[in-house]
């Protein structure tokens, strides 16, 4: 027969109450904190996953902060460059308008005055600071004013460096939060490959206008003789061919084959007879050129060319004759066209930078979405691991309470059962 000692019966009753109480307490804690895992020992693997998830989340939140920061800086840069663009466009209009011959020197001076103003404004824009007081276009030298110089001296220098600052905006993804001033305003090249910068270009333009320089390019060359059939000269895109037999070649211009313009070098056109003198050839050439917007005048064997007063044509001259046949005696470049070229280069550069910024802003936008998606999915995973299923917990809690009550009642009932009570 199985005996049960009275103290054991007592103890077991108490034990089962204690056990139930522990369970109730644990569930109560889980419910009040909303957490399934109270200590790592509740779910060691899950706890470590939570640590990793928390780190990932904390990094993502930092990436988002970096992202906001980059958006701020890039947007400031974008709106600054927008102002620079409209200023440059205004200067370009002024240049075209200012070099028109109808302007008196006084008019030109006052137009140049506005150009100086615009130049100062662009300089101020180039020295823009961001919200933190850092210069936008100074590379890493964010506390050094990047562009110095005034429209009084015309000497402009760049004090920054060529660096770009990168920020982490996602795992293994970093992005430049700006462009160096060297890239945006300074390291430009003119058509001959010489270094140029926006400020000097504008300054020279305004100066030329202010000092009433003629808007044209001019040059002079002499014909020395020795010209033979089929030799050519190209002036402003038109090809002039020296000819003594009437047969003429052609040149492809913009995909279209254009017959060359004939310049006779024999006394009977189309027949290789007695060659003409240099003076006579010069006269013939001048006559041929006379049909274009290039102004030409001839003195003996010397021709003087002057580019048109308006438009953007400039003056181009390509010598296709045997060396020594023709000597260029004078070439004066009055740089409206160069200036316009350089303004266009500058505009192109700024447009490039702006499209880079636009691309980066787009990238930031999509990275922001990606990060948010990640955050959401990580939060969900975290919740699945860490958070309690309230419905399940409450029903478990109720069940445990019922069990506790049952254990207590059973204890009371059993303890009342003693033979001594009946003696």
């Amino acid at each position: 027969m199985n005996r049960m000692s009275t103290s054991l019966a007592h103890q077991q009753g108490i034990n089962s109450i204690l056990q139930q109480q522990t369970k109730v307490n644990n569930t109560q804690q889980q419910i009040s904190l909303g957490k399934r895992i109270l200590n790592p020992s509740d779910d060691p693997a899950g706890s470590v996953q939570l640590l990793d998830l928390n780190q990932a989340l904390s990094r993502l939140e930092q990436f988002q902060a970096n992202n906001d920061y980059a958006v701020n800086r890039l947007s400031t840069s974008e709106s600054t460059l927008q102002s620079v663009t409209s200023n440059l466009q205004r200067v370009r209009e002024l240049a075209v308008q200012g070099f028109n011959d109808v302007n008196t020197p006084t008019d030109k001076k006052s137009i140049a005055e506005e150009m100086y103003q615009r130049l100062d404004e662009i300089l101020a824009l180039a020295n823009t600071k961001d919200a933190n007081g850092d210069y936008l276009y100074a590379g890493f030298k964010t506390q050094t004013k990047p562009f110095t110089g005034t429209s009084a001296s015309g000497l402009y220098t760049y004090q920054g460096d060529q660096s770009q600052r990168f920020l982490e905006i996602g795992e293994d993804r970093s992005l430049a939060d700006g462009n160096s001033g060297a890239e945006v305003f300074f390291n430009l090249q003119d058509k001959n490959g010489n270094p140029e910068d926006i400020f000097s270009t504008l300054y020279a333009l305004a100066n030329d206008l202010s000092s009433n320089k003629a808007p044209a390019e001019e040059m002079a060359f002499t014909i020395n003789g020795g010209l033979t059939d089929t030799e050519t000269l190209t002036i402003n895109g038109l090809t002039y061919e020296f000819d003594n037999n009437g047969s003429v070649g052609s040149t492809v211009v913009d995909g279209v084959t254009v017959p060359n313009i004939i310049v006779d070098i024999s006394d009977i056109p189309g027949v290789p007879a007695i060659p003409l003198t240099s003076d006579e050839i010069a006269t013939n050439l001048a006559a041929a050129i006379g049909n274009t917007d290039v102004t030409v005048s001839v003195t003996g064997n010397e021709l003087q060319l002057l580019a048109g007063a308006e438009g953007e044509g400039g003056l181009s001259f390509t010598d296709g004759t045997t060396a020594g046949d023709i000597t260029v005696t004078e070439q004066i470049s009055i740089p409206l066209y160069d200036h316009l070229d350089q303004i266009d280069t500058a505009l192109g550069r700024i447009l490039d930078v702006r499209s880079q910024i636009g691309a980066r802003l787009n990238a930031l936008d999509s990275q922001d979405e990606t990060n948010q998606d990640f955050i959401l999915s990580l939060e969900q995973t975290k919740s699945q691991i860490a958070d309690i299923d309230i419905a399940e917990a409450i029903s478990r809690f109720n069940f445990q309470i019922v069990s506790l009550q049952a254990a207590q009642q059973a204890y009371v009932k059993v303890q009342n059962l003693s033979l001594f009570n009946l003696l």
Binding site: M4, T6, L38, D42, F186, N187
Partner: protein, 662 residues
């Protein structure tokens, strides 16, 4: 009819004994270790008469305790195991609840610290942002010290508990020995001294809940108690003592010794079961590994972070200094050593383990034992040549061999053997002090070095599409850099010719755009450091880049490149041989402690079940059931009354007889 009187009297005596014993049982129903006692009644020797044997009553032959030594031993073993797991769980759960706690654990502070670096990267000149980074560095230091204090506190409590337990064990042993004496004396009278036996069993039970013991019962009734690997705690009426001694390498590391007259014997590793087993196991499995792992993280973090920080330039244009205090390797020298040992952390400390090491030497042969797995690295020193030079032949645990002349690198440690002496013994504890000595060294926000000492400039006249990117500097000396220019020369084989400080270095980096674009290159500049970069695009002849100094007065304050490198350390695998970052290692200890705590809880519950069964089985034999005793009380009271009636009857008969003669 005198017989009837005697018979009745014998009943009265016997039933009185039974009633007294029942009373004894009832009153001891809740006495711990009490075994229910039972009175054995036997018939007295009958008297022979012509008509046969006439019964002459009853007598109490013995009073025995209801006891089963097998069940008792089972209870004792279960109790010992349950008590071990309980103690283990009690301690482990305290560490468990702290490790992943966001306000105390390391994880959150690490994240905040690295985030603060990114904030500085976004705005390098902001003093407030730098100040926040310093504050977060301090917070990290506080976390390390909070956790270290907690572990210190745990070590103290472990030691106190060990001391208490040892005292208890010694006291129990003495008491058992003195009970042994009493029992031997009492047993001489032919009957068993039940209550003394119960008391002794109870003391042995208590002893077993302190530490695993084995017992053997002697013929004279004494019990010998053995502990550890057979050390006799109690031998008959004599008892021996346990004691605690500090390990030579660390005053707070206590070993348990068995005290003998000649020398004390270290029996720590035999301490299993009971509270003692639980404490020792907790110390070995949870506490010390946690301290060492935390130290490992602290050492790795400060070493790797400092290295990157000193490759940078601060807001004043100066070379970065150590951001955190440089950790140092803890070495415990044996008191008899005559030489000295120098150990430093190697430049690459990814091989650092949490183990301690013991180095022994006879002057030419050295053995370095990693204590965690007892693997050995052996080293043989040899001297040769003129002037004599020393070299070391190293045999690694995996059998690989190598020879070196300088320091020996073992697991991320650089060990300098040159000053050791024959017979020396050292204990190297690379991570033990890591967490407690972790501290922030930088106090001025301007001293945070988040720039890089080199900056590249592309020549304004470059006409190709070449680019030079991803500049990086390592082994930075802090000296200024003379301009390094790279000029592209397209003569086959095409390359960038290098000029340092205006003087041709004679060297060049071969670069062919079609195959090398995006490749990285390294240029070592004597007196400055190593500069690495990538080259891209198609350069034209004469295109050039200049690498110039970015420190001192000309420092570009907006530079954030080193900040990016520093914040990159958060996820860089700088630990466990390049397989884990700081957080990973921390996660490993959280998981390890969590698993061990959980298994202690689960096993503890299971063991509690076994214990309950053992108690039930033991109590089924030895326990007092009050209902049963109540029934006995009634039953033997009736028997006693009946026996009195017998005496009364005997008197009545006697009176009747007397009346007949009146």
């Amino acid at each position: 009819m005198a017989d009837l009187l005697l018979t009745g009297l014998s009943g009265l005596t016997a039933f009185k004994n039974v009633l007294t014993t029942t009373g004894h049982n009832i009153t001891n129903a809740t006495t711990e270790g009490y075994s229910r006692q039972k009175v054995s009644l036997e018939t007295q020797t009958p008297q022979f008469s012509g008509s046969g044997y006439v019964g002459s009553g009853v007598f109490t032959s013995s009073i025995t305790r209801q006891y089963d030594s097998f069940l008792s031993t089972e209870f004792r073993n279960s109790n010992s195991a349950a008590s071990e797991l309980d103690t283990y769980y009690e301690f482990a759960s305290q560490i468990d609840s702290v490790l992943a706690n966001p306000t105390v654990g390391l994880s959150g502070a690490l994240q905040e610290f690295f985030n603060s670096i990114q904030d500085v990267a976004a705005d390098p000149t902001s003093i407030p942002a730098r100040q926040v980074m310093l504050s977060e560095g301090e917070a990290l230091e506080n976390r390390f010290s909070t956790m270290d204090n907690l572990f210190d506190d745990m070590t103290l409590r472990v030691n106190n508990r060990l001391a208490d337990t040892v005292t208890d064990i010694n006291l129990l042993s003495e008491n058992i020995a003195s009970l042994n004496q009493k029992i031997v004396d009492a047993s001489g009278k032919g009957q068993t001294p039940n209550d003394l036996l119960d008391q002794r069993d109870n003391l042995i039970d208590q002893l077993a809940s302190k530490v695993n013991v084995s017992t053997s019962v002697q013929t004279d009734g004494a019990v010998n108690v053995f502990v550890g690997s057979g050390q006799s705690l109690v031998l008959g009426p004599r008892s021996n003592q346990l004691g605690l001694e500090s390990a030579g390498f660390d005053a707070s590391a206590l070993t348990i010794v068995f005290k003998e007259q000649t020398a004390n014997v270290d029996i720590t590793r035999f301490m299993t079961g009971g509270e003692m087993g639980g404490i020792v196991r907790f110390r070995d499995e949870v506490l010390n590994p946690s301290i060492n792992t935390l130290g490992q993280i602290a050492v790795s973090l400060s070493q790797t972070f400092n290295e990157q920080h000193t490759n940078g330039v601060d807001l004043n244009g100066d070379q970065g200094q150590s951001f955190f205090t440089e950790p140092s390797v803890l070495i415990a020298s044996d008191t008899s050593n005559t030489g000295s040992l120098t150990v430093n952390y190697a430049a690459d400390i990814s091989g650092l383990t949490t183990s301690d090491y013991v180095l022994t030497t006879d002057g030419t042969n050295y053995t370095i034992t990693r204590l965690s797995d007892k693997t050995q690295t052996t080293i043989v020193e040899s001297t040769s040549g003129t002037p004599p030079s020393t070299s070391y032949a190293i045999t690694r645990p995996d059998g690989a061999t190598e020879t070196t002349a300088g320091s020996i690198t073992v697991d991320g440690l650089e060990i300098d053997l040159s000053a050791t002496a024959a017979g020396d013994e050292y204990r190297i504890r690379p991570t033990r002090d890591g967490a407690s000595s972790f501290s922030l060294q930088t106090s001025d926000p301007r001293d945070i070095a988040i720039g890089m000492p080199v900056i590249s400039t592309e020549s304004a006249s470059n006409s190709g599409t070449a680019g030079l990117n991803k500049l990086n500097v390592s082994a930075y000396s802090g000296a200024p850099l003379a301009d390094v220019s790279l000029v592209y020369n397209d003569t086959t084989p095409s390359a960038y010719d290098i000029t340092i400080g205006g003087v041709s270095s004679g060297s060049s980096v071969a670069y062919t755009a079609s195959t090398d674009s995006g490749a990285s290159y390294n240029v070592a500049v004597a007196g400055f450091g190593d500069i690495s970069f990538t080259l891209t695009g198609q350069p034209n002849n004469g295109d050039s880049f200049t690498l110039s100094d970015n420190a001192g007065a000309s420092y570009s304050v907006g530079d954030n490149r080193n900040a990016l490198a520093l914040s990159g350390l958060q996820t860089k695998q700088t630990m466990s041989d390049g397989n884990a970052n700081y957080q990973d290692v921390y996660g490993q200890i959280v998981a390890d402690v969590g698993r061990r705590t959980k298994s202690a809880a689960v096993n503890g519950a299971a063991q509690q079940g076994f214990l309950n069964q053992a108690i039930a089985a033991k109590d089924a034999v030895s326990g007092v059931n009050l209902d049963e005793e109540a029934a006995n009380l009634v039953r033997f009271q009736q028997a006693y009354q009946a026996a009195s009636q017998v005496v009364l009857t005997s008197r009545t008969i006697f009176d009747t007889l007397l009346g007949a003669f009146r």
